[in-house]
Amino acid sequence: MSNRITTGGQKLFMTFDITPTSHSLAEYKARGGYSALRKALTEMKPEQVTKEVLASGLLGHGGAAFLAGRKWGVVKLNDGQPHYLCMNADEGEPGTFKDRWFLENTPHLLLESMLIGSYALQGRHSFIYIRGEFDLAYRRMADALEEAYAAGLFGENILGTDFACDLVIYRGAGSYVCGEASAMLTSLEGKKGYPRNRPPRLTVAGLYQKPTVVNNVETLANVPYIVTHGAEGFRKVGTAESPGTQVISVSGHINTPGVYELEYGYPFADFLANECGGMLNGSELKCVVPGGISTKVLTKDDIMPLRMDHHSFVAAGSQLGSQGMIVVAEGTCMVRLLQVMLRFYHHESCGQCTPCREGMGWLERISNRLVAGQGRPEDIDRLYQISRANDGTTICGLGDAAGYATVGILDKYRNEFDYFIEHKKSMFGGRLEVAGIGDNARLVDAAVA
């Protein structure tokens, strides 16, 4: 994968050409790597690092956009118990593949971030929980860690200071729900990856019941920049409410799907025209799933005037979420799109708590029946009811997310569902592909005919 030249404003990460060796320690150091770590260890106290991260306004990039520095600030330093920092690299949200870019191309940036984070939180042992399906990403991270250990960047007396840190890279076993922070820690402890009830918060009792901070890959990747340039320097990038940049993975009916770094506040229309290369085959934009399928869908009218920052997307009734955008063209059947989403949620529900365990299967069975042309008018009410009954009633957010996805599509495209139920067929031939593109689409066309 190489970086395409884009117009999305200032870059923090995609500042170098990707070559077969650009992920190595030597080249990372040549780009100024590990200088932030030296600055943090030699010029800053742990609480100063946290203060700087808080002042920078860095928002979490995992989906909830929580102030990273505030999460760090909850951990009490010198309280006599171990603290853990865990990097959430279990990127599994459908449509999202931006963390993979970091893991494969800048492993040392992540290791440096882990070291600075561990220093700020006084963590002696830190963890990277990496998605099991990520093969190259895992190998790149493991190789980088080996290089870093050989260079004395982990272990005792890092960079000649008395700071010590060890890092474990742990591979997940393919569960979506383990991307939820508490489930990740439960899995890391060797148990079935069930999310935990709050209270207690993970920053109070997380991994092995000790204060733990779980941060997304991209969130942590910002830390060296903040340490080097200071909170003020970081705030010069992006908007006032959403400082910095976002690395967006975009897929769907566009000409150039991929991973792009954009300054917060970049207009969506420009993003679609420039980075995305416009709509596939000149098709018309229908809607966008903005931040992984767990965020509410935005129609063309909703999204075209938006600038890409948290504030604008929340005001439009959705979220930037985990920054995995799926662009959907006109002619796509939203009933089938919902069915595909619900199949995913059903498959990935961990089965711990009742509303999600039973509700996800129920949602999928209804959507299957709808797509089979056996829908009934009351099914729509049922979809709403199940979504509502999952809103805020489950241990983790999976149930809520499935509800948002369902309600988002139902609210905006109710007419397609009514049409499907009344005519026992899709308004758009059940297509998920742009008409006339690829073998699959021809098969679909044939099936519909």
């Binding site: 365990r357 129920w362 009633t393």
Partner: protein, 486 residues
């Protein structure tokens, strides 16, 4: 003490209490499936959702995991809470077969109770239910019906936290989740396994003893004490109600133990008991000695008592082996009547049988007799060298209960045997007087902690057999040798 409000009523909670605990102390039962007062909080069933009124707007969370805070205003029955419970009940019954008509749990099922209390409507689903294993054998004692299971995880937590066998776990995900045994642990080796049947809120875990054997509404629970070890767990002995007497089937079924469940007693056994208690029928329903005998020849009870009186009168050195299964009342009766005429020793009626767990730090104690504590307060223990208890001139031995050291009893001595069971050693008795078992009388036991617990009569006595206490009175009043005149 924290002051807060449940449904507008001021209440107090202790520091660290959750809303569900504090509400229970205040007499408000918030519904729950997964929450159990003696297990950890998994918060997975979501039926205990309550509303908390706050200035920034009401919020909802599960009462089992919500610490009480000062001034908190909890609503357990608001409109929104009722709606949430209804939704949750819809989810819980979505893939549950609702086969109450053929379910052993029917009549004492939390799901039935909660359905009538909080749902009361048929399933809204028009799709087929998921299917799973019926009658999965978890152990030789327990069947698992995965379709009825609502994944509350009480059984898993019990084996993790109480019995510590770690024998159960969950496999698969979502609505395919299944309770399954640990492949590396034999659940048959968990002596507390049957507790999971009691704590299962639905009919998923089935006792193979009771399966298709009785409907619970035909049964009566009589409070009792397990005599299986010196712990003396409080138990309920379940047997057929007299008004539902079976006439067509074996009449024995009317006076047999259908099941045993623990009776919560925080001072002794908490809410648990071990599998030995569940198998009390194996102790009490052994072949009974029901015929009194003199010199192995059948005689009526009065004749046997007369023969025993004559033996006591004629003896010059009498030794008694006191039962450690006698109740406090019986032991006291013996002590105040015949006690003066006999040199008395307390024997262990039962010793551990091969394969039985001897002792652990949960409930099971090494002494397999219920009342040695009380007996030893009155009499000395039978010495390890049992023969030393019998002087050479011993001419009478009174054996009360089982477990007598028959080989140590001098062959010259005459034997009066008071027993409940028909055993080969009984031929050694010159006089055999059958006595009642625990389920046929009232009484008390004193356990190893000194805690006194009562047991009640479950079944009428088989006539003509004696109760040990009254037998001692009769023997005492008819014998010419009374204490002090020896």
């Amino acid at each position: 003490m924290i002051e807060f409000f449940i449904d507008g009523v001021p209440c107090t909670a202790e520091t660290g209490q959750t809303v569900i605990q504090a509400a229970l102390s205040a007499g408000v039962r918030i519904p729950s499936f997964c929450w159990h007062p003696n297990l950890s909080v998994p918060g997975n069933c979501r039926i205990c959702m309550v509303e908390v009124e706050a200035e920034g707007g009401a919020w909802f969370d599960i009462a089992c995991n919500m610490p009480v805070t000062k001034g908190m205003r909890v609503l357990t029955d608001s409109g929104k809470v009722r709606e949430l419970r209804k939704d949750t009940m819809q989810f819980i019954t979505l893939n549950h077969p609702v086969d109450c008509g053929i379910c052993n749990k029917s009549g004492e099922c939390l799901l039935q109770d909660h359905h009538y209390a909080y749902n009361g409507q048929p399933s809204l689903s028009r799709d087929s239910k998921t299917h799973a294993t019926k009658f999965y054998p978890l152990s030789d004692r327990i069947m698992l019906d995965n379709e009825r299971c609502i994944m509350c995880s009480r059984c898993v937590r019990f084996t993790d936290e109480v019995s510590k066998s770690r024998a159960l776990g969950v496999i698969n995900r979502g609505d395919h989740s299944l309770i399954r045994p640990n492949e590396e642990v034999d659940f048959n080796d968990d002596p507390y396994s049957d507790n999971i049947i009691d704590i299962c809120p639905v009919g998923a875990l089935l006792s193979r003893q009771l399966l298709d054997h009785a409907r619970v509404w035909y049964l009566k629970a009589t409070p009792s004490v397990c005599p299986g070890c010196e712990r003396g767990c409080s138990i309920n002995i379940w047997h057929r109600k007299s008004e539902w007497k079976l006439n067509a089937l074996d009449p024995q079924l009317n006076t047999s133990i259908d099941r045993v469940t623990p009776l919560e007693n925080p001072a002794v056994n908490g809410p648990w008991t071990c599998n030995k208690a569940r198998d009390l029928s194996r102790i009490f329903e052994r072949p009974r000695a029901l015929q009194s005998k003199v010199k192995s020849a059948p005689a009526d009870l009065a004749a046997a008592i007369n023969a025993a009186t004559a033996l006591i009168d004629a003896s010059s050195r009498a030794v008694a082996l006191v039962s450690s299964w006698g109740s406090n009342e019986e032991l006291a009766a013996f002590h105040s009547t015949l006690g003066g005429s006999f040199t008395s020793f307390v024997k262990a009626d039962h010793v551990p049988v091969p394969g039985e767990r001897i002792e652990d730090d949960v409930l099971i104690k090494a002494d397999k007799n219920p009342n040695r504590f009380a007996a030893l307060a009155m009499f000395s223990a039978l010495p390890d060298d049992a023969a030393s208890a019998f002087p050479a001139d011993t001419d009478l031995v009174l054996v009360w209960g089982e477990g007598a050291p028959w080989s140590a009893i001098p062959s010259s001595a005459r034997v009066i045997l008071l027993t409940s069971y028909d055993q080969p050693e009984n031929v050694r008795a010159d006089v055999l007087i059958p006595i009642s078992v625990q389920t046929e009388r009232n009484g008390h036991y004193t356990n190893f902690q000194g805690t006194i617990t009562a047991f009640e009569q479950c079944f009428p006595k088989h006539a003509p057999i004696a109760d040990a206490a009254s037998l001692f009175e009769v023997l005492y009043s008819s014998t010419s040798r009374v204490a002090g005149t020896k």
